[in-house]
């Protein structure tokens, strides 16, 4: 039943040998890795405008056309980051995320900081983007607002299932919406510029006289810049997910990265310019992008297609995290800083456990914040820029020790990238500190401690299991104890026979919850297993486990060098629902005895035919 459901939802298992077939072309990889980054163009311009208008409450009017140079600065930063990551891809063709690069060049602590920052960012991306996408749906259909948490969870589950089906399948599912969004944005920008040049729209009122520069104005502009830097989130996904590309991976990944950066720059700057030309300002209830679409195309099909594509890309931004998070978690887990289950490929040659973990944490966040995670948006960027900075700084160290041709100019590029992203990180941390950036710092530190603890545990386990100090024990002496019901049956007899085959000291124990006649029980027992003593324990409070576990405890200490094997007779039903008709005593006993060091639990199944 479970196997059928699993196969229905995520497909048949894939052969390990077909791993290379799961690799993607540039076009498909772009759809998988670009959604997070490109989706930020749907709100980054609005974030800048909102930050600029925040001063009006204090009587400071900042001209909104400042958004264009601010967007220009962010586009320049995008170019620096993209070219810097291009050098990373050249140097680390097998995957050059912040963790790998920092670990090799800056040490483990820096690497763990980078990993913690990125993992947090991926989780936040899923929560925020899904909530934003669902908010777009509930804006259009307000009656769904009260179900937003359920819708968010449903969206996460759908993206999870698509990703669990495999990289190629998820690329096929998500390519349409991603390319539709790109097309709709270009139509919007092209249509908008053409309309403006033809004078279709009255130019906005001339900007007010600029305010004299003051500390508050500088702070507002920096805040707008920091908010707009949301546009860069997700750009590292290509460097992180380089292994999804077909060979030559390094070249294909670099080309895809440059295409992604170019698309981002064009769409982001284009939106900022349009907002400025059309005099669009953020307003309650309608996004800047929606206002632009409505103004340029009217409330016709193109407008609705643009809105639908925007909603789609916002939800699908989560998809990039489903590629990035499991891969990064797998690399960190291979180094034993995360549970090793996260390192394994699943049935469909994707890191299923990492995906499941990401989905669970994201759903938990969405439930916790009632599907309204706008408060989490400021948390975003500190982690991302920390990862950028560590990655680029690591590359500077890499090129310093490299004798490769061109190492000098590559060092300069990465140095510029490290400097620029480092400065932005500090700006973001300062101006967003009160909005929640401090929480990211705390969370990153907590995750780093967790990573170290996990690693210490694995190290301690390995040391303890090492054969270096192994001393062969003498003869193992053990007692077999068989919990039995009041009546004899085939399953019990099989367990008794098995117990006798492994130990000369076999004891049967019955907990007499029904207060049956002891003499009668003993007589029945003697008829079937006279060689094995039967201990009939009273249970004045009608509990089976308490007297039984205490008896096993007693037996454990009875002979000093004894091991205890608890032999459980279990009848196995033919149909899954038959299991529900039997009590689960064995299951509870196994759970209760699992952590006792001198006790071994063995199940003797009796398979029922009907």
């Amino acid at each position: 039943m479970f196997r059928w459901l699993k196969q229905f939802l995520i497909g048949s298992p894939l052969d390990t040998a077909s791993l290379h077939e799961q690799r993607l072309s540039k076009k498909s990889a772009l759809s998988v890795l670009a959604s997070d980054n490109l989706s930020s163009t749907a709100y980054a311009t609005e974030e800048i405008l909102l930050a600029l208008t925040a001063g009006s409450a204090a009587g400071l009017l900042v001209p909104l056309h400042y958004a264009v140079p601010i967007a220009g600065a962010i586009v320049l930063l995008t170019a620096i980051v993209a070219v810097s990551y291009g050098q990373t891809l050249h140097a680390y063709p097998t995957g050059g995320g912040a963790y790998s690069v920092a670990k090799e060049n800056l040490g483990v602590t820096a690497a763990l900081a980078g990993a913690a920052a990125l993992l947090l960012d991926y989780i936040l991306t899923v929560a925020v983007s899904v909530a934003a996408g669902v908010a777009a749906i509930t804006s259009a259909i307000p009656s769904l607002y009260s179900h937003r948490v359920l819708l968010c969870a449903l969206a996460v589950v759908i993206i999870l299932l698509a990703n669990l089906r495999g990289v190629r399948e998820s690329a096929a599912v998500f390519a349409g919406p991603v390319y539709l969004f790109i097309l709709s944005m270009f139509v919007l920008i092209g249509g908008g510029l053409m309309g403006y040049s033809q004078g279709a729209v009255a130019p906005p009122a001339p900007p007010a006289a600029p305010e004299p520069w003051s500390f508050f104005l500088v702070f507002l502009v920096l805040r707008a810049f920091a908010s707009g830097c949301a546009a860069l989130t997700g750009i590292e996904a290509v460097a992180q997910g380089v292994q999804v590309f077909r060979p030559p991976v390094s070249r294909n990944a670099a080309i895809t990265l440059y295409i992604l950066a170019s698309l981002l720059a064009t769409m982001f700057l284009g939106t900022a310019v349009l907002a400025s030309l059309y005099g669009v300002v953020p307003r309650e209830g309608e996004t800047v992008l929606s206002q632009l679409g409505r103004t340029i195309f009217g409330a016709g099909p193109i407008y609705y297609i643009t809105q639908a594509a925007t909603m789609g890309i916002l939800i699908l931004a989560a998809n990039t995290s489903f590629t990035g998070f499991p891969r990064l978690a797998s690399i960190v887990a291979q180094d034993r800083f995360l549970p090793r289950q996260l390192a394994n490929l699943g049935d469909r040659l994707v890191f299923s456990n990492g995906m499941l973990f990401l989905a669970l944490v994201a759903i938990a966040l969405l439930v916790l914040f009632r599907g309204d995670v706008h408060a989490l948006i400021p948390l975003y960027m500190v982690g991302v820029f920390l990862a950028f900075t560590l990655s680029q700084a690591g590359m500077v160290v890499h090129w310093r020790h490299s004798e490769e041709r061109g190492a000098g100019w590559r060092l300069a590029v990465n140095g510029l990238g490290a400097f620029a992203t480092g400065v932005v990180m500090m700006v973001v941390a300062v101006v967003k500190f009160k909005d929640g950036a401090w929480m990211v710092v705390v969370a990153i530190a907590a995750l780093m401690v967790l990573f170290r603890k996990v690693r210490s545990h694995y190290y301690a386990t390995t040391r303890e299991l090492s054969l270096a100090d192994y001393e062969k024990p003498g003869e193992i002496r053990h007692t077999a104890v068989v919990p039995v019901p009041p009546g004899m049956n085939k399953a019990v007899m099989r367990a008794i026979e098995y117990a006798r085959s492994i130990s000369k000291d076999t004891i049967a124990v019955n907990v007499n919850v029904d207060n049956l006649d002891r003499q009668e029980l003993q007589e029945k027992w003697q008829a079937w297993a006279p060689e094995v003593p039967l201990v009939v324990l009273d249970s004045p409070y009608r509990a089976i486990h308490r007297p039984l576990l205490r008896f096993i405890d007693e037996l454990e200490g009875w002979r000093d060098d004894d091991l205890i094997t608890v032999v459980l007779a279990e009848s196995v039903s033919k149909r899954w629902w038959h299991h529900l008709l039997h009590n689960q005593t064995s299951l509870f006993l196994k759970a209760a005895l699992f952590f006792k060091p001198k006790i071994i639990v063995t199940s003797i199944p009796y398979h029922l035919r009907k």
Partner: protein, 85 residues
């Protein structure tokens, strides 16, 4: 290793009064012998708390009652079934 019914009965007859003297709620449940034939396991129970007393089987036969009583009481106190002396 199972004792003969007669042997079990005689052990029970000997131990039950001793247990009752120590605590009237203490019940004799079962007795068995381990495969080395050195250790006698006596299962007793008070309320829902079972305990297994370990007696040297060879010495048990010739052990004076007072010594046997002291050995049982010591073990039951160690298991917190009887209050400390």
């Amino acid at each position: 290793m199972e004792l003969t019914p007669e042997r079990k009965h005689s052990i029970r007859r000997r131990l039950e009064p001793l247990l009752a003297g120590l605590d009237p709620e203490l019940k004799f449940v079962e007795v068995f012998l381990d495969s080395s034939r050195e250790n006698l396991g006596v299962v007793v129970q008070k309320e829902d708390q079972p305990a297994i007393l370990r007696l040297d089987f060879v010495r048990y036969v010739s052990m004076p009652e007072a010594e046997l009583l002291a050995a049982i009481a010591r073990q039951l106190r160690a298991k917190n079934i009887l209050p400390a002396a």
